[in-house]
């Protein structure tokens, strides 16, 4: 106690008051409802998501929520697989360990339709709990769709909506060849033939998680993973369309890929495009946004983005959506809703976008000037492309394949099939027939009715 102790608490109190005031402004509904008293004093909320940019921002701003509501929040954000395993186990036992969870895209159908989450419609409709300007309809319909159950109720509020897009890091080479940005799968091959190995730039590479990067092509060729997910999970990997798509995609890697193309992981792909070693890829928008970083990207002046190519059956961009939901077993549902409402209020999401957050799910954020400025890279508007992709996905429903519980097993089979073809171990037909047989075995083992 060598320093003067008196002024410190006073300043702290002042800061607390200021924070409470600031947070109160962010929580109009709560401020009105509480009438000055802290509504959730004494409540401890356990929140868990996987570690990502948005949860990290929320963790920083937590004290404001706590000051405004009086609730104490434990916010745990482990890595993606760890989070999913924990949450899956906890939800399946209807435990009350968590009050707010991330509704993970690949588990959404399972978690929602098993009744493990709380429907949010009543909270949203109740003017005492949710202010009118909170506006659930501001969240993209395409992002709300995977958070909606078969009963039509909403079980999660999306905080991220990301799309798989096509990028060309050296579009100048394409222009020099007199060609345009490839719109179809045929165009893509034509363009790659023209630019492959020009100025020592390889034509195409993709993250070797082919269960994600290849599927838009599978759909484009008229194939699919299942007969009709999530109701009919009979795999359809040995159809002529699927085999043709596999042949096409593996050939992109074989003919136009850099040496060792099938070993590329997402960060390597981003790096290769940033350095201009590889021209084309299909990758998630968050990875592609890094190509606009003037400090590390050598291709910022030549890069161009577009939708994933259209095939004989149409265009089917991959999308991924994550939302915040309330477990059915939570004992603090009202406080949990107050948290979600705060975490995804226009003020909070707007603040996140201003802080550089790259994949918001609110239309008002996506259309805001602040966001647009950051998303336009060398004339290509990533935000617009992503919005278009998410709307397409909402219309066709082709992403449903990804939300079934057994997808991880099928995902592996797709990774392997493309690797086997691209490394010359099997023909496309053999590889996809093998994937089909293995998938059926895996599904039966998982207890799926085929």
């Amino acid at each position: 106690m060598t320093h003067p102790s008196h002024p410190v608490p006073e300043r702290r109190r002042l800061l607390q008051a200021a924070a409470a005031l600031g947070a109160g402004a962010l929580l109009p509904g709560l401020a009105a409802a509480q009438g000055g008293a802290k509504k959730f004093a004494g409540v401890t909320l356990n929140v868990s998501t996987f570690s990502a940019a948005y949860p990290k921002l929320l963790q920083q701003w937590l004290p404001e929520f706590e000051a405004a509501t009086g609730a104490k929040v434990n916010f745990d954000a482990p890595s993606f697989p760890v989070y999913n395993q924990r949450a899956d186990l906890e939800l399946s036992t209807r435990g009350s360990a968590y009050d707010v969870v991330n509704v993970t895209f690949i588990y959404s159908s399972r978690w929602i339709n098993s009744g493990w989450l709380t429907p949010l419609d009543d909270f949203i409709r109740n003017p005492n709990l949710t202010p009118a300007d909170w506006d659930i309809n501001d969240f993209l319909p395409g992002a709300r769709a995977p958070e909606t159950g078969r009963d039509g109720k909403l079980y999660g509020v999306p905080w991220t909506a990301e799309a798989l897009l096509t990028a060309s890091s050296r579009f100048d080479l394409v222009e020099k060849a007199g060609l345009a940005f490839p719109d179809t799968t045929d165009d893509l091959v034509k363009v790659l033939r023209a630019v492959n190995k020009k100025e020592r730039v390889a034509g195409f590479v993709a993250d070797n998680h082919y269960g994600w990067t290849f599927v838009p092509y599978l759909h484009a060729f008229g194939g699919d993973v299942f007969r009709k997910a999530p109701d009919d999970l009979f795999p359809t990997l040995d159809t002529p369309e699927a085999i043709a798509a596999g042949e096409y995609y593996a050939n992109l890697l074989k003919e136009f890929g850099p040496d060792g193309a099938i070993t590329y992981q997402p960060d390597q792909v981003t790096q290769a495009l940033k350095l201009g070693r590889v021209n084309f890829t299909d990758a998630g928008q968050l990875h592609l946004a890094q190509l606009g970083d003037p400090a590390t990207s050598k291709t910022i002046k030549t890069v161009k983005f577009g939708l994933v190519p259209k095939g004989p059956a149409g265009r089917f961009p991959g999308t991924a959506v994550h939302g915040l939901g309330i477990p059915a077993g939570s004992k603090n549902k009202e406080a949990a809703w107050a948290f979600i409402q705060w975490a995804l209020s226009k003020q909070t999401t707007g603040r996140a976008v201003a802080a550089g957050y790259g994949s918001p799910a609110r239309r008002s954020d996506i259309e805001s000037a602040v966001f647009r400025d950051k998303q336009v890279i060398n004339g290509s508007d990533l935000a617009k492309l992503s919005l278009e992709s998410i709307e397409l996905a909402a219309k066709t429903g082709h992403m449903k394949y990804r939300t079934v519980a057994v997808y991880p097993q099928v995902d592996q089979q797709l990774n392997k099939a493309i690797e086997l073809i691209a490394s010359g171990q099997l023909s496309a037909k053999q590889a996809f027939q093998q994937a089909q047989a293995n998938t059926i075995a895996e599904l039966k083992r998982a207890g799926a009715r085929l």
């Binding site: 040496d259 171990q425 099997l426």
Partner: protein
């Protein structure tokens, strides 16, 4: 007589007292080492799966996982891959470690420095080693690939080629672990007395004969121990495979350990993964026993 009896009684009492004093720590030790292992074995008798909580602890068909293992081609294939990887990497490590130890066995500051430098790979965290080799094996950024290309011998990516991927991993593993053999052999080389070597030299023995008949018998037990240690460790190969090939291309580098990891962490089949781990454990025990018996009994005969 009475005196002797009481002395015996005292001895027995003392032993009992020691045992009593030791028993708490023994119990804790047993608990720490055996309980997790027992949990693994017990889990292997259940269909425990995170996606099916109802099946958590059901013992109605305890051998279901083991029966399934017998028909699981991917598992059987992973054993073959494991044996190839273990045999090649352990032999390479013993060869390189022994060779370098013989070269570096001497007293000079240069050799001292070289010995220290060669130890570096062994003290690096495995994930760092994996990242180093990821760079080495990525033609785009690899100094090796670039040098070879500049010299006019371009080399295709080793980890993307199904014919070379496993050997590439074996090489990286050897790079990390040859220093272990080198260190152990160096220590035992320094224990060899000078007399027999001097005597043999006077008799006109050449360097090869010295190595074959005098040095080698001295260091053989150490080599056996090194081989055993490395063999056991080679079954745990994980970071290199995870970072370099992810078990691919296809499944040419999918070792049993890695397959168990996929079953548990990608598919949530904890019971099945436990069965794989149990089989692996039994296999390592059996192999170590066989190798140990081979090496030591041969030595004891001398």
């Amino acid at each position: 007589m009475a005196h002797a009896l009481s002395a015996d009684g005292w001895q027995a009492e003392r032993r009992r007292a020691f045992l009593l004093g030791l028993s708490p720590s023994l119990a804790v030790l047993l608990l720490i080492t055996l309980v997790p292992a027992a949990a693994l074995v017990i889990a292997s008798f259940t269909p425990l799966s995170l996606t099916d909580p109802a099946a958590t602890f059901r013992f109605d068909d305890p051998l279901v996982n083991y029966r399934q293992l017998l028909h699981d081609d991917r598992f059987l294939h992973s054993i073959a891959v494991q044996l190839k990887l273990s045999a090649s990497s352990v032999l390479l490590q013993l060869g390189v470690g022994l060779g370098l130890a013989l070269l570096l066995n001497g007293k000079s500051r240069l050799l001292d420095g070289a010995r220290t430098a060669f130890l570096i790979p062994m003290v690096l965290p495995p994930i760092v080693v994996a990242l180093i080799w990821k760079i080495m094996y990525t033609p785009d950024v690899s100094p090796i690939h670039r040098a070879l290309e500049a010299a006019g011998w371009p080399l295709r990516s080793l980890i993307a080629d199904p014919d070379t991927a496993l050997w590439a991993i074996s090489l990286a593993d050897t790079w990390q672990w040859f220093p272990f053999t080198m260190l152990m052999v160096l220590a035992s080389l320094q224990m060899i007395p000078d007399e027999p070597i001097e005597a043999a030299t006077l008799e006109g023995a050449n360097r090869w004969q010295l190595l074959r008949h005098i040095v080698f018998p001295y260091i053989r037990p150490v080599l056996v121990v090194c081989g055993l240690f490395r063999l056991i460790d080679s079954f745990k190969a994980f970071p290199l495979i995870y970072v370099l090939t992810n078990g691919g291309p296809g499944s040419v580098t999918e070792v049993t350990n890695y397959y168990g990891f996929i079953q548990a962490f990608n598919f949530s089949y904890w019971g099945y993964a436990s069965a794989i781990a149990t089989v692996l454990l039994a296999g390592v025990f059996a192999l170590s026993w066989a190798v140990g018996k081979l090496g030591w009994s041969d030595h004891d005969k001398r």
